[in-house]
Each structure stands twice: as C-alpha cells, then as structure tokens.
Amino acid sequence: MSNEDLRTVDLSELLRGYTDCWVALSADQSRVVASGRTPKEALLQAQQQGEPKPVLMPVPSVSGPYEGA
C-alpha cells in the first residue's frame, strides 16, 4: 500500500459485527472475506473465497484503551 493508496484505512465499521475471532480482510481492506477461531481457519476460508493473500487480524471483545506494549 505504500505510495499507492493513502486514504485512511477505516476498519471501524467493517469489524463492528465481529468479536472473538480472527478475520481475513480482502487485500484492499474494504471487506471481510472470512472469519474463524484461528488465523489458519480464516485464511483457508479466505483462500477458498478466491482471496489468495488476505489481511489477517484478531478481533477481541475488549481492545482498549491501548497504553503501550
């Protein structure tokens, strides 16, 4: 995405309906392609949906506030 699309990536609405799972986003991060209890499960489902290289991330029920790792 470097120097290609500099629009802010907005995941706030996209992930509103998901909790306690891993999601696989489309490569342009515009839609959720698949979800699962593990990243492997989400990845395999995404690949079956024709998304060869999705973006994988967990979606917890509680995700903040973040104050440093």
Binding site: D5, V9, D20, L43, P52, A69
Partner: protein
C-alpha cells in the same frame, strides 16, 4: 514510503465503543524462506522496545514458537506478558528486512469464564527491529506515516 493511518473501533471494558486513529500499517512476515500467505496489521510504537507479534500466526509460518529464546514485556498497569524471540523477516512496502521479534500468545487473553477475547488487534513494531531500520515521521493531521529506510 508513505502509509495511511488506520481507524479502529475500540471496544472498552465498560462496553463503550469509540473510534481511534492509529499508525497501524500492514506488514508481511517471513521465516526461513517461507512467507506468510497473508498480511498482518502492526502498530508503529516508538514506546515499545521490541517488535511483538501474535504467536497464533506462527503455525502458518512453520515456526515453533516455544523453541525461541524466552522473553517478557510489560505495559502500563499490566503484568508481564511472555514471548519467545525469533529471527524473522518483516516485509514493509514490499521490502524485507531482518527482525528479531517476540512471538506471544499473550497479546490476546481469553476470559476463563466467558471465553471472551481481550487484547491487541495488531502486532507491534518497536525500537529494536523496526526503528533501527527506518526513520519514521508521523503526520496525524494528514493521517499519514512516512518511512525512510536507514542505510
């Protein structure tokens, strides 16, 4: 290289929600010639000493998490989170660079009674392993991050 900020829905412990902008970029991960067949979001965090990634991704890389050197880290008001150090490649904007990173199962905690998950939605890019490779300029007003490789 320029990257946009990412807007997240942050879910707070009291049930409230808010949107937050974070300097989170998507990265790739590689290990011993194998590349993760997915990208992964990671927070550029100058306050973190090291790079920390979800250990749950390790299986997809063929990486034996607990074979790494044990380590631990602390944040504000939290106990120690354990991790294991591994030498991987991080790929930013298509460019790979070596990174000794911690992989931790503690970035997501599962509540013992409810099973609900609590924790980070992204990995962390810290001082060692990331800031020693890039000069970083945050521009929150333009919602952009500029990375310049250090030679």
């Amino acid at each position: 290289m320029n990257f946009p900020y990412t807007k997240f829905l942050e879910r707070l412990p009291d049930g409230k929600q808010r949107t937050v902008l974070r300097p989170v970029i998507r990265i790739g991960l590689g290990y011993r010639g194998k590349v993760l067949p997915a990208d992964y979001p990671a927070l550029i965090d100058s306050g973190s000493d090291s790079c920390i990634f979800h250990a749950e991704l390790a299986e997809l890389l063929g990486l034996d998490v607990e074979a790494g050197e044990p380590t631990g880290f602390r944040g504000m008001g939290h106990g120690e989170v354990k991790g294991f150090l591994h030498d991987v490649n991080v790929i930013v904007g298509g460019h790979p660079f070596p990174c000794r990173a911690a992989f931790s199962y503690g970035l997501i905690k599962r509540h013992p009674d409810t099973g609900r998950w609590e924790g980070l939605q992204y990995g962390v890019l810290g001082q060692q392993g990331f800031f020693n490779h890039f000069r970083v300029e945050f521009n929150l007003s333009k919602e952009r991050i500029e990375l310049k490789p250090l030679i």
